[in-house]
């Protein structure tokens, strides 16, 4: 008997089969991902999950005998009180006849299975695109990679290109007719044999002369000449690194309720997720503001309540300050998402608009403004029929957005709107313009 330990064998032998399966049902899976993503939170989105797709696309048909025609018979265990000749009403739906279920098991209408996190997010973000990625700058420091670039005649011994060197050496030896080792050896042997036997001294002299000649030649023509030596050459090539910074701006004044913050958070996280898949390096800066603005960490950003008035331009100022200090626009792709309930001190509107249009937008790849509303009735900033009654900030920003530029704005009032809005913002250009 042999025992073989296969536990260390590669896992996921079925992986290609799984991918083939997903490819086959891609359209249906995509649809299912969209539908299920509307129902789940952002954190859940990171986890993949169970999907169900119509059975139709994955059916494996075969010739089978129908389960509803003709005279069928069956033998079952567990008779309680039937006797021969009894009649029994037919169970509804043809159930109770286990051996006639569909071969896939279950006989459900839908085929259910679990997608991994990566598969899920890939499908979810599949046809989305980051607008305006031109500024994929190469960062200056320590981002060089050595790349093979032919051969050179100088270099470090570690980079000696042996094959190339030996090829050169052989070509030179052949061309200059350097005597081979075997030739010289056979001469030696012949001379030795002649010397021992003492016959044919004439030939011996001739051989000695030839040998001397050959030895001289092999001394003069070296086996490997410095001329032959080649080294592998490497060139330092700057490695393009796409890096992005994402600014999250949020109004945390008293008028922002927890549910509004939750909406904003979802949007921020989605954007972060998306950027993370497009850029190798994504940094996030959280800036909250009331009538004053400050940069905070994530936890404080979402959970620490603040009171005060609302002056939007302070946040924009703070952002500019951070950009100037840490994220030079030449090296970073700058994305900004602002969430607010639309309140702003009236006197600040002009200054905010000016700041945004003249300074911030030219720096940004993309500026998204999300105006969050309340889903639960209550004293909401928009009131009933709110789509008509626009907030001050909304009106102000719209004049800027209308002028073009990398800015979009949307209103979100309920969790289920987050995904559609997000998809709409980042839809691939071919499917329609991202700007309103």
């Amino acid at each position: 008997m042999h025992i073989i330990d296969r536990r260390l064998n590669p896992k996921g032998k079925s992986l290609t089969n799984r991918q083939r399966f997903l490819r086959r049902v891609k359209a249906q899976v995509r649809q299912a991902v969209r539908e299920s993503s509307a129902r789940r939170g952002v954190q859940d989105l990171e986890q993949g999950g169970e999907l169900s797709i119509p059975r139709e696309g994955v059916r494996e048909p075969s010739f089978r005998r129908s389960s509803s025609t003709g005279i069928r018979s069956g033998v079952l265990p567990g008779n309680k009180d039937f006797v021969e000749g009894d009649t029994i009403p037919r169970p509804p739906g043809g159930g109770g006849r286990g051996n006639e279920g569909s071969p896939d098991g279950g006989g459900e209408d839908d085929f259910r299975f679990v997608l991994s996190r990566d598969e899920f997010i890939d499908l979810f973000l599949e046809d989305l695109e980051l607008p305006d990625m031109i500024k994929q700058r190469t960062a200056a420091s320590d981002q060089m990679v050595p790349l093979r670039a032919g051969y050179s005649v100088s270099g470090s011994p570690a980079n000696l290109a042996l094959t190339r060197t030996m090829r050169n050496s052989m070509a030179r030896r052949l061309a200059l007719k350097r005597p081979k080792g075997a030739e010289i050896r056979s001469l030696y042997e012949e001379i030795e044999a002649l010397e021992r036997s003492g016959r044919d001294p004439q030939r011996l002299t001739a051989l000695r002369a030839t040998l001397a000649d050959k030895l001289r030649m092999s001394r003069q023509i070296p086996y490997i000449d410095p001329l032959d030596v080649r080294y592998r050459r490497f060139q330092q090539v700057p490695k393009p690194v796409a890096q992005a910074v994402m600014f999250c701006l949020m109004d945390v004044s008293g008028s922002m309720s927890e549910s509004m913050k939750d909406l904003a958070k979802r949007f921020f996280m989605l954007l972060h997720l998306f950027l993370k898949r497009r850029y190798e390096r994504v940094e996030v800066v959280f800036i909250r503001h009331t009538h004053i603005a400050q940069e905070v960490d994530e936890d404080t950003f979402f959970h620490d309540p603040q009171t005060g008035g609302t002056v939007v331009s302070t946040a924009l100022d703070e952002m500019l300050k951070v950009v100037r200090a840490r994220y030079p626009a030449g090296d970073w792709n700058i994305y900004c998402a602002q969430a607010s309930d639309g309140d702003n001190t009236t006197s600040d509107n002009r200054r905010a608009a000016q700041l945004l249009a003249d300074t911030i937008l030219p720096l940004c790849q993309y500026y998204a403004y999300i105006e969050v509303g309340r889903s639960d009735g209550g004293p909401e900033p928009f009131g009933l029929g709110s789509r008509d009654r626009e907030s001050d900030l909304w009106r102000t920003y719209r004049t800027i957005a209308d002028r073009g530029g990398p800015m979009v704005m949307r209103q979100v009032r309920h969790r289920r709107e987050i995904f559609p809005v997000f998809r709409e913002l980042f839809r691939r250009a071919s499917e329609g313009s991202p700007t309103p």
Binding site: M1, H2, I3, I4, D5, R6, R7, N9, K11, G12, S14, T16, N17, R18, Q19, R20, F21, L22, R23, E50, V58, R59, E60, P61, S62, F63, R64, R65, S66, S68, T69, G70, I71, R72, S73, G74, V75, L76, P77, G78, N79, K80, F82, V83, E84, G85, D86, T87, I88, P89, R90, G96, G98, N99, D104, G105, F111, R112, F113, V114
Partner: protein, 514 residues
């Protein structure tokens, strides 16, 4: 209570290592081969993880298999059920090959490993090596080599002709898989080893005789062959033919060489699994009987502890549990339960027969060597004949079996026979029929095709008990068949009793270049 370590114990505790496995295997082998007279292929035991077990599930338990989306589908299905805890994993998978490969999972306790080795490594193994169906139909020495060839060949085709093209052929071939089997032995024994060789030679021959000049020879005036009679034509095409895949491989006019080879691969593998379909009850019954007797003997001899024996009994009773028909857990007769019950009963009939047994089984009742009887049963029967021959009234009573007839024309189901004196024989016949593959798979044959005319392929389904084909599925399969054939196909459903036509399906090829 005192803890004593007994020298005779093979192992203690649940943790195992390769030495204990070896010892356990040797002890089991001594009982299985020495006492029970089993005749087995050499064993190869491979330890795998749960994840690898899931992988193996998806490809019919085979260690290597070609790639196809349907295996991926089964994989995601098993995976979900496993993750949700709806279904545990099998403790083992065993492959009919020489050497006989059994997979055991690393999570199992030593006792479970012993049980698995007794069950798969000796029970199934003996059955594979000795049952006439396996001897006749499968080539245990070469199956792994053949699967390896199939995997490489199909991967190669994918590279040459594209995923889509290969997938379309495989989809179609899979749909016809149940009708790609020779049900009656032919003169030539399956020899999978020469398959690869044959393919290479065919390819080489094609390359050798290739001559581009033929392309330039003006066509047009094709010789008008003399109109052959339809009888002669059918004889030439070996019609009627129930192996549809074989017929397509040999006759379909539009298939390329590699496409024929794919059909052949699917057909060969289906043929390999054919005996397993016909011997589910016997195979599992044999393995269950063997593991139970072997483990009991180990316990009797004091080689395993009482605790281990309890563990064995626990999983043994789980395996042979048979829910009753009105139980929500009921999903058909459990082949382990039925097979084990009948075999245990054969042992009882041999050793301790009653008058009833003497009347029903005069040949074996009272035979002193029950193992010889069982070995003979394992070697020479399949499920259908096994049940027809050996299902005793006692087992029917124990299972409280009853036979129902569900006539679609009647409003109610009728109970035809129960486990009583009048019903035993009818009950047994009905149950045996349930396991007759020739009755389970619809009888569909290619009956005629006019290769010089419209090339429409005609098939016939001989309908038994007026059970026609599942309409939607039949239409889909027929579509695949038309794709492979390249021209229209027609399937008639003819009543076997009256000869009247019940239904007709037809399909046309959907894409010209399958």
């Amino acid at each position: 209570m005192t803890l004593t370590t007994d020298d005779r114990l093979l192992y203690a505790g649940a943790d195992w290592n390769f030495d204990t496995i070896q010892q356990v295997h040797d002890a089991i082998e001594r009982i299985a081969v020495g006492d029970m007279g089993l005749d087995v292929y050499p064993n190869r035991i491979e330890v795998i993880t749960a994840e690898q077990m899931l992988d193996a599930y998806a490809s019919n338990g085979m260690p290597l298999y070609y790639k196809h989306w349907s295996f991926g589908k089964h994989f995601v299905q098993h995976e979900m059920m496993y993750r949700k805890g709806m279904r545990g994993l099998a403790y083992e998978i065993v492959i009919n090959s020489n050497p006989c490969i059994s997979y055991i999972m690393e999570e199992n306790s030593t006792t479970m490993q012993a049980l698995v080795i007794a069950h798969a490594g000796f029970g199934h193994n003996h059955f594979f090596k000795n049952n006439y169906l396996f001897r006749q139909w499968t080539d245990a020495d070469a199956i792994l080599g053949y699967l390896d060839f199939a995997q490489k060949y199909i991967a190669d085709c994918e590279e040459k002709h594209g995923h889509r093209a290969v997938e379309r052929v495989l989809d179609a071939a899979h749909a016809l898989r149940t009708h790609g089997i020779f049900r009656y032995p032919r003169t030539k024994v399956a020899d999978l080893r020469s398959e690869e060789q044959r393919e290479r030679e065919r390819h080489a021959n094609q390359e050798r005789i290739f001559n581009d000049l033929w392309r330039t020879v003006p066509g047009g005036d094709v010789q008008l062959s003399s109109p052959t009679s339809s009888d002669r034509r059918r004889a030439l095409l070996q019609l009627p033919q129930e192996n549809i895949l074989y017929f397509l491989e040999k006759t379909a006019p539009r298939l390329a060489g590699w496409q024929r080879e794919l059909l052949r691969i699917v057909r060969q593998i289906a043929q390999y699994f054919y005996p397993q379909m016909q011997t589910k009850v016997m195979n599992e019954g044999c393995a269950t009987y063997c593991h139970h007797r072997i483990m009991r003997r180990l316990h009797d001899e004091g080689r395993i502890s009482d605790g281990a024996w309890m563990e064995v009994m626990h999983s043994h009773t789980n395996v042979i549990f048979q829910p009753e028909f009105d139980d929500p857990r009921y999903s058909g007769l459990n082949p382990y339960a039925l097979g084990y019950a009948i075999m245990e009963d054969i042992e009882r009939i041999c050793l301790d027969p009653t008058d009833e047994d003497r009347a029903w089984f005069p040949d074996i009742a009272g035979t002193p060597d029950h193992m010889a009887v069982l070995r003979d049963v394992w070697a020479n029967y399949r499920d259908e004949s096994f049940i027809l021959q050996f299902l005793s009234p006692k087992v029917m009573r124990d299972f409280r079996l009853f036979h129902i007839i569900d006539d679609a024309a009647q409003p109610r189901i009728r109970v035809d026979a129960i486990h009583d004196e009048r019903g035993y024989r009818r009950l047994r016949r009905a149950l045996a029929r349930q396991y007759d593959v020739a009755w389970l798979d619809p009888d569909i044959q290619v009956i005629d095709v006019d290769l010089e005319g419209d090339r429409r392929l005609r098939l016939q389904h001989r309908v038994l008990d007026s059970i026609t084909l599942e309409e939607a599925d039949a239409q889909r399969v027929l579509g695949h068949l038309a794709d492979l054939w390249g021209y229209d196909v027609l399937l008639e459903e003819i009543s076997a009793e009256t000869g009247g036509k019940l239904k007709e399906h037809s399909a046309s090829p959907r894409n010209r270049v399958i």
